[in-house]
């Protein structure tokens, strides 16, 4: 078990190094860097000392050093918790991402929770009442949900909120709590703002999972052990939930870790961009456009870490709920 964990963590570390290195290469690919963009801006403004200023910045950010050296410096500092400095904001990356990282994780977890809590019961109802009107309705809705990308749904909801209901749905806090210290009221306010973006980001995943859950459960309900459980005189509800659902859910845990959670992490960032939420999504897109490489690189690494952790948690969870699985 410990062995397995160590191996998985080692693997994750290698992946993170590979991913961050590749990201750096990709960001480095286009000709020019952040400073060439900056020089042009300054020149356009007629700033005479542009060249000189930029030269100073170049040294400060280490952009005069060769690529490899820059990457190694950044990576070594990363381990010490120093993620480099953002060119655009002229502040340390850790400062910019600090609070945002927390909200990103909270949003992703809330989305996962909603996905799970809605998809499983809907899939179960759909399977247990196969071909009934309830099943038909759930199937149609999940079908539409499957083809409803979160950011477009967010746009539509934003439209209705603004035009029809004249509501404020953007941001994670009401103005009065924005800069207030943490309190029960602030947490409630956060939850009040969080559920809608989380639900929006969850829709696509719910659509897919409902269909998978329905299929799995239909397969499982035909298994001999379900009939055997019924023959023991158990209630239908006990047979369904304790025996059939318990088995049908296992593959979903894997799918949740390997497919749904990653798409939630990314999907919720897109939703966050539309709804202007303080997560790392909007900052990341902006940093890519500006070639703000330490910021962008750090964001990618955080995304990757979230995915790898999600994957690992799913595997551990599966091993915990399914005695047939041995971690080796």
């Amino acid at each position: 078990m410990l062995n397995y964990l160590l191996r998985r963590i080692g693997y994750a570390l290698i992946m993170i190094v590979l991913v961050s290195f590749t990201s750096f290469i990709i960001i480095e690919l286009p000709p020019g860097d952040f400073l060439t963009q900056k020089v042009e801006q300054l020149r356009a403004r007629g700033d005479r000392s542009a060249e000189q200023q930029v030269e100073m910045l170049r040294v400060r950010y280490g952009l005069d050093k060769p690529f490899l050296e820059r990457y190694v410096n950044w990576a070594v500092n990363f381990l010490r918790g120093d993620f480099g400095e953002s060119f655009e904001f002229e502040r340390p990356v850790s400062e910019i991402l600090g609070a945002r990282l927390g909200y990103t994780i909270i949003l992703a977890l809330a989305t996962t929770l909603i996905t799970w809590l809605l998809a499983i019961p809907l899939g179960v109802i759909s399977a247990v009442r196969q071909y009934s009107w309830v099943d038909q309705v759930i199937s149609v809705i999940s079908f539409i949900g499957l083809g409803m990308p979160g950011f477009l749904l967010a746009l539509i909801i934003l439209y209705f909120a603004i035009i029809v209901f004249n509501l404020e749905v953007t941001g994670l806090f009401s103005p009065e709590y924005q800069d207030a210290p943490w309190s029960v009221g602030k947490v409630l306010d956060l939850l009040n703002h969080l559920w809608l973006p989380a639900l929006i980001a969850a829709i696509t995943g719910i659509g897919g999972l409902v269909r998978i859950m329905r299929g799995n459960l239909l397969d499982t309900l035909g298994q001999p052990f379900v009939e055997a459980a019924r023959a023991r005189g158990l209630k239908n509800r006990t047979v369904t939930w304790k025996h059939a659902v318990r088995i049908a859910i296992n593959p979903l845990i894997t799918i949740l870790g390997s497919e749904v959670f990653p798409s939630i992490v990314v999907g919720s960032s897109l939703v966050a961009i539309v709804l202007n939420l303080p997560t790392i999504g909007p900052v990341f897109v902006d940093s890519l456009r500006k070639l703000d490489m330490y910021l962008a690189g750090t964001c990618i690494v955080f995304f990757t870490i979230m995915l790898l952790v999600g994957n690992l948690v799913a595997d551990l969870l599966l091993a915990w709920v399914d005695p047939r699985i041995r971690l080796e």
Binding site: L18, I26, I27, L29, G147, M148, I300
Partner: protein, 376 residues
């Protein structure tokens, strides 16, 4: 004994005497949702890819002074309550003194009948035949009055026209990208499944690596890396290649798995014992066996590609103006200011959703039809 041999039902006879693809077609036709999806898709591609010039009343970049005009209502009843042929009222520019906004008001004195097949901007049908006939429009001087079915944008361009043209790039990127993915994915999948060894190692490790990457951030980083000064067409093809590059891994894996089981089948062994070349066995004997799977996977992943383009362009990382796609249109529509003041720009969303839905419907129908052994 004759009594025992019961006559086969009509449906059964049909199922017995037919080839695999006939059977697939027969089963597909029975799936109403799938057929509807196919018909809608043909209609979508027909109007957005083949004929946007004809259907839209103006040329793509035709600007006007009618800036941010709301959608024009086509009317049948005039201000006196009389029924008449379809017409629109003229638009008049007003300044709202309180909100300091430019608004458009109807001028009920000017009426313009809406006609079918009117002459207008010049274009080349299918890029070849010069024409100037448009499906609908009004017969008026363009600077005096225009028809904006879905309003106009900040440069006074007809938004309906822009959505029509935008569909061409967005819909085509899905097909092109998927085509590249298919070629790359099936070829590498077949080779890696058949030969194993170094190619297999490479495909396996590479797909593993890609799947560890958070995929949309990778998309974003890659497309952000397309140089700004590249010509639009180059950007378009680069984006297509990026989409395909990230998509082939999954497909290759699936094909590899299928080939691994197919190559042990009798017919593959028989072909080998007849002395068929590896190449022939791979692409004549094994590849067709994976086709049904591949078609389903491909159909179901096209909407993902279209969405990826839309999302990237929307974020300013994919296609850039002057290219017009649904994604670049979304860029203008998806701000709080735009939603508040020019909400009609969101009309670009329904065609995107419709496209995704129809592809899913078709893909689902195909999956059911192509897998005769699926119980459900």
């Amino acid at each position: 004994m004759a009594v025992a041999a019961a006559p086969l039902t009509q449906a059964k006879k049909k199922e017995i005497g037919q080839s695999y693809w006939d059977l697939v077609w027969y089963r597909f036709k029975k799936n109403r949702l799938g057929v509807l999806g196919a018909i809608l898709l043909i209609a979508l591609y027909g109007s957005f890819v083949a004929l946007p010039e004809v259907i839209s009343p103006y040329a793509l970049e035709n600007r006007s002074n009618f800036v941010e005009a709301p959608p024009t209502a086509i009317r049948l009843i005039d201000e006196k309550g009389q029924l008449r042929a379809p017409f629109i009222y003229g638009l008049e520019r007003k300044i709202d003194p309180v909100r300091r906004l430019r608004t458009w008001e109807l001028d009920t004195d000017r009426k313009y009948p809406v006609r079918l097949f009117v002459q207008g901007d010049e274009y080349k049908l299918f890029g070849l035949i010069p024409m100037n006939i448009h499906l609908f429009g009004i017969e008026a001087d363009q600077s005096e009055q225009r028809i904006f079915l879905l309003g106009s944008d900040a440069l006074g361009r007809d938004y309906f026209t822009r959505i029509m043209y935008g569909g061409r790039l967005s819909l085509m990127i899905g097909l092109l990208g998927q085509f590249l993915t298919l070629v790359l994915g099936t070829t590498l999948g077949v080779i890696s499944g058949y030969y194993g060894g170094a190619v297999d190692m490479f495909v396996q490790r590479f797909t593993e690596f890609l799947s560890a990457f958070p995929n949309i951030p990778l998309f974003m980083a890659l497309s952000a890396a397309i140089p700004v000064f590249w010509p639009p067409t180059a950007v378009y093809f680069m984006l297509t290649i990026i989409l395909a590059f990230l998509g082939w891994g999954g497909l290759a894996r699936q094909v590899r798995g299928l080939i691994l089981s197919l190559r042990e089948r009798e017919y593959a062994l028989a072909a080998k014992s007849f002395g068929a070349s590896d190449w022939r066995i791979m692409f004549r004997h094994l590849l067709p066996g994976t086709m049904s799977h591949v078609i389903v996977i491909a159909t179901l992943s096209i909407p993902g590609m279209i969405l990826a383009e839309t999302a990237l362009s929307w974020l300013g990382l994919g296609l850039r103006p002057p290219l017009t796609s649904w994604g670049t249109l979304l860029q203008d529509a998806a701000t709080i200011r735009a939603i508040r003041f020019t909400p009609w720009l969101l009309w670009v969303v329904p065609p995107i959703l419709l496209t995704i839905l129809t592809y899913n419907m078709l893909g689902d129908g195909l999956r059911d039809a192509l897998d005769p052994y699926s119980g459900r």
